[in-house]
Amino acid sequence: MKEQADFMDCVEFNEIYHDLDRPGTSGFRFRERALAHAESCSSCGLLLTDGEALDFALHSLSQHNAGREAPPRVEAALLREFQASKAAGSRRRVHGQLAALGAAAAILLALGLGVQHRIASQPHKATPQEANLATTPGAEGSAAAAQNEAAVSEADEDEYAKEFVPLPYADDPAALEGGAIVRVTLPRSALPSFGLPIRESDGTDRVFADLLVSEDGTPQAIRLVSDANPN
């Protein structure tokens, strides 16, 4: 009897008969063949009847519950939560904006202070005279050291040296015009490397010095500054 069913056997029927009314499924696609098979096969016919009965029962339950929903207090609670969340979001946005403004103000303040400090730390540009004094092209280290010593000995009141002494490797005297003076501290032991003698220490291991820096950033000359009056 089962063999007489066209194009569908019981196994195939069993796989699809739950989906006969569900669009987009193979059960829906082969619905007619499944129904034809069920007509010719008593056990599959019974399965189909059970399936239809179940569909109807499920539909009844679905209809019975169709109007069921959460009580209004749930919606009220959720609306309160939504409003609270919205207010918190607004507060977060305001705080974020304030923080951004604060950060911007801090950056501007830091930039302003930096510029002010830079201006204050550059009392004057190197004058041509200073530059001329500092230029000894091709000077060897020993000659420079002797010259430096002489310069330092001449000015020992306020500063170790009032004049710049060219550094041994200074090779661009012209660059000193328009160069900048940068005040630094150096270890006393480093003075010989600049061609300067080590003088008596007043107990400190570091000395103040002004570096005359050319426009390309290379130190060209140096002068020592009194520890007592570094500015």
Partner: protein, 215 residues
Amino acid sequence: MELMGDGLLLGRMIAGDEEAFTLLYRRRHPAIYRFALHMSGNVALAEDVTQEVFMTLIRDAKRFDPERGTLGGFLFGIARNHLRRRWEQERHSLPLPDDADELDSLLSASARVGRNGVSNGNGNGNGRGPFLLSRDEYTSLETVGRVRQAISTLPENYREVVILCELEEMSYEDAASALDCPVGTVRSRLHRARALLVEKLHDSQPVRRASAVGE
């Protein structure tokens, strides 16, 4: 605004539009509530889960990815996770019809009949007739109670596909998205769940059906 799709409403909700949220809630919450109710058999728990689902939506709506499924599927997925968490916490086992006082006596009667054994319950459909007599019978509260009872005793993974695909008439694809499993799994679970339901409903046939069969 009522004609707007879920996606648009969600976008407005995220932007802080309270009316959009209200519409979205009213549109989507009944199915979530019913799902939680059928899954738990507990009204209070269903309310809690519904509230938790939409709380999650308020706090974390951007988690929804329309490319991974519908908003409905997304919400069912959240509901399912909340239910599981609650069960873990409370070790509540479930499922008896909660609110249908009018059904209690009928359900008891059905259960008694089931124990007496009306059908062979072998699940292959052989040697028995359809488990109910007439369509009038299906429409009765008794039928509703019996079906609800039968669903509530299904294993959880079968119960959820029945609720989503049969009671909420969700497509296999949306159910797969909500349950985070392949479409084929949904289909096979539903197939098995329906077979189990048929067996359970046969087992719980009312007395008059037993009499009719006996005759």
